[in-house]
Symmetry: C2
Subunit: 442 residues, 2 copies
Amino acid sequence: MKKMLVIGAVAAGTSAASKARRVDPEMEIKVFAEGENISYGACGLPYFIGGTMAKEKLLVRSIADFAGQGIEVRNLCQATEIKPGEKKVVFRDLSANRWFEEHYDQLVVATGARPMVLDCPNNNLPGIFTLRTVADGMAVKGYLEQRRPANVLIAGAGYIGLEMAEVLSHLGYSVTLAERGPQVAPNMDPDMAAKVQKDLEQQGVKVLVDTEIIGFAGKETVQRAFTRSGSFPADLVLVAIGVRPNTGLASAAGIELGIANAIKVNPRMETNLEGVYAAGDCATAHHLVTGKDVYIPMGTTANKQGRVAGENAAGGNEIFRGVLGTGIARIFDLEISRTGFTDKECQANGIDFRSHTVECRTAALPALAGPIWLKLTVSPADDRLLGAQIVGRGGAGKRIDVIAAAITMGARLEDIYDMDLAYSPPFSPVWDPVLVALNKFR
Amino acid sequence: MKKMLVIGAVAAGTSAASKARRVDPEMEIKVFAEGENISYGACGLPYFIGGTMAKEKLLVRSIADFAGQGIEVRNLCQATEIKPGEKKVVFRDLSANRWFEEHYDQLVVATGARPMVLDCPNNNLPGIFTLRTVADGMAVKGYLEQRRPANVLIAGAGYIGLEMAEVLSHLGYSVTLAERGPQVAPNMDPDMAAKVQKDLEQQGVKVLVDTEIIGFAGKETVQRAFTRSGSFPADLVLVAIGVRPNTGLASAAGIELGIANAIKVNPRMETNLEGVYAAGDCATAHHLVTGKDVYIPMGTTANKQGRVAGENAAGGNEIFRGVLGTGIARIFDLEISRTGFTDKECQANGIDFRSHTVECRTAALPALAGPIWLKLTVSPADDRLLGAQIVGRGGAGKRIDVIAAAITMGARLEDIYDMDLAYSPPFSPVWDPVLVALNKFR
């Protein structure tokens, strides 16, 4: 009987195992998790801390659920070595502190990513957190409840930093958001990010851009944060400056790494080693606009890549077509989203572009309408859509999906100028903002 | 100097005039409206009656606005004859009761549609209304306020009937919704419509299907409605059983009619007569799935067709690609939408199909999540998407646009199984319902 091992049991790993089981009801499937919790939705952590999402809601499936599906999941087992020659993985049982080996016919590496930390003095003082695992979320929540910090510092103004600024403000904390780069929402263009910053400030968040945290001070716990232009009190620090793929194990085994040191995979999610697949936040993906490899770790992508890896590992034949870097976040009642390439990213990648931003309302019915700014970026050579960004309220954000669908299909402007989008006053103006943006190029 | 006449001044007519002006700043443009009000959003009428949309919000642009753009708009002028040989239109000035003629080089026919009435005894008793124009809306609103009817009857359970059932229930009226056919929401499949009916009944609307209104009785105003199985009190009746294209004038002038007696137009919105265009609720449109002509009058389509007609009439070269019959409505907090073909419509058109319905939640964050039923209809031969229907709450309805975009681009299932749609807990589950529905076919 064939045996499949999966290293990692969050989104990609559990998706791979479940899909493999559906494809092959017979094969032996074992999944190993380094941490205690498995199969959780990390994107829900801000809402868990904010009290609007219960811990049970974070945890998608339990070890018992997987057992019921004929999948053995072992937590607190750290993979310490992959031996591709022998087709074995060495694990360390963290609870018993003993080592053991498992043979595999097919291996799925889903080791995820690790949060980056600030490389500065006293960066390990108690009260300084990253937010990646359920354990991280519980630690932050516990610290907040026990200490009621007077001054919260969030380092990094990406999605997690922005969401945490909302959550902690709602909980009544005084929040400072410090971003090393020149703007919040670093994966949007500066003009769109400026609207987000303005809103954060109106909501009472202190925003510091071009501000690098260069050190911390405190006795037993963190008390002050230092920047090049001075210091300020900070008795809880959340470091949300991005992640790096967790690929040391894979690399040591001779698995080829690609961009950003993520594991290089093909559309079947195969690595360079026969029988070894990778998926999720440890792996690369093709960008649908450029066809080039990118590293854009996302829960959605991890789920999809995991399914494809699982299907192929179980003998199926499936491909993952790629990503657009689509993302969305709510910050207070502001909705921000993006897909494809921003102007800034076009510039960085040497792609010709032109763009327009339109300002509309999301609905004709005043009580349900919010403002929406929609920026559309297009290739001048062939009018192909390259990307879009949205900032707004009242149903603005998810409109990005219409553009994501169009880009996925390689749409040019003229293909979709007069798309038949849904209209009635509670949902849209007669010209949906997406159509207004498209027709701006006409 | 060239002269363009437009007959009709609601969505298509005003769009045509404005676009023509932008294309050609010189040409003379005159627009004639039969009614008093011009350039209004008829889809807002239920909300005007309900008090959530002011009359000013219905009226998009005024005669003075058009004058400022160099467009002369005359209201209360009825076109009574088109003389294509002489390139003239005869108008009757309804306020002065005198006739006059206008020459044209280019003519846009945007005569819209007329609401169908019940062909039964006493169908013109005071208290029986259709809802098409601002005057209709004001009449219904006035009657409600003066009479406070005890029993409202709505005949017809399409979008307007359903929206009015909500609006009048919210205003505290006892509402009976009578539909001649076997289901509410006649342009959805029965299984989806059943969910809508159940919700209406839970909200206190009395729903009668398979119920034809065959007569009315009353002294000075309507008091009773009759069906084949008995009669019931009704002291306000709203007839919302559909519309017919208003094409008698065009037909008498030799303009060719097509399906449903709508004016047959090509993608340039040209009729069979040289220099004569038609657009909006009086005109046909190509269906993007079948390529066949259809008559699906919609405000969105009227605006788009009007623009194309105006552009071409002014010397430009633009096409209207076609429609999907996309529609959306809110009924209480239920959101219903559709695009492309339903199963029922596939059967009626002899199109092979297979379909799946999935039931999901609209978001991971419990407080923002609603249920969503998404039915997807696909061509078995080539896996091409044919249509979709949605019933749900909490951001369910507008997801139809993602599928409308995909169908517009001719997407097959495998093209979009793993589309990169936006996810974060306030907006979506990690697998967006659209992806869940697509992957049901996998």
